[in-house]
Amino acid sequence: MTGISGGVPARHNPFATEWTDAIPFRFPSGSWDFHLGRLRQMRYCAAIVGRKGSGKTTLLDTLVRQLPPQSPSRYVCIQRCPSNHRRTINEVLNQKNDGTILMVDGMQRLSFANCRRLLQSRKVPIGGLIVTAHRRCALPTWIHCQPDQASLQYVLTHLGFSADSEITRHAEAAFVRFRGNVREVLRWLYDQVATGQLAIHGTQA
């Protein structure tokens, strides 16, 4: 597995985004049915709130796969592509209501004008508006993402590391150091494994 002096090539790094992005979101309590029921009661107009690296994008990605395909009929998800924001928002808001749920990952990345248009869209008959934001906003909060050590262990278990592994021990310390930012912890672990600072041999479950 090791082919680069003292480290692990990207191909074998267990913290590559290919693996970390594939981990589905898990609620600390309550089932998906329960939380989807709440979202339905909120008429799909809600915010996912949390600090950087707390799992908002992961939750939104998982939500797209969990929503029933028959209703609503279409989802538009705006993610990390600022140049397309305005056009996409206009397209959705200007069309007749076909049940489209507009999802915006990173409300704070939008311009003030686009933000205002979106929030006003609650009065426009679209299927729904779900956003992620760092702070509470004009939309009611559906989920407040606050990862804890158990969330971190869930992620590590998914990647094949047991609770008593050396990687887990270092990850827990990094979790405190990075103030609960799981994404930063995973990036840090990637670097540590890539450069051979941390060994993965014999630690994976």
């Binding site: 082919g3 480290g7 191909r11």
Partner: protein
């Protein structure tokens, strides 16, 4: 639950550019509503950042039966080579994917002039080479 299995004729899965990549795809238990089944030669990146992906060649089976098998053959491309560094790897694979479910299986392989994955030496600060005090 459908099952896809890719077997390459070259069990070591290491190829020179221009060589034929041949093998057999077996499948079972495909959903009745499956529209097509595709076997394709792809490369993708794996690593720390954003992922890249490209389909180079593909064979499509329209309205596949629930169980079946097919032979496939592609040509190993000259570029990109299978390479690995600390930040990124370029990985070649034969992938089988069912539409519209997008259930997929892939078999990774190596394409390079040496039949081995090429390594990118580290060049970052403090890595890969010694510096004088």
């Amino acid at each position: 639950m459908s099952k896809l299995s890719i077997q390459l004729a070259n069990s070591e899965a290491c190829y020179l550019p221009g060589e034929a990549i041949s093998g057999r795809l077996d499948w079972s238990g495909l959903p009745e509503e499956s529209e097509s089944l595709e076997v394709r030669l792809i490369w993708f990146t794996r690593g720390k950042g954003t992922r890249d992906f490209e389909v180079i060649d593909a064979t499509t089976i329209e309205s596949p039966s629930q169980d079946g098998e097919t032979m496939f053959q592609f040509v190993a491309q000259r570029y990109p080579n299978s390479i690995s560094g600390k930040l990124i790897s370029v990985v070649w694979a034969v992938e089988a994917i069912v539409f519209p479910e997008c259930e997929a299986e892939h078999h990774e392989l190596i394409i390079s002039p040496t039949r081995r994955e090429l390594y990118i030496p580290a060049t970052g600060a403090g890595e890969g080479k010694e510096t004088k005090p």
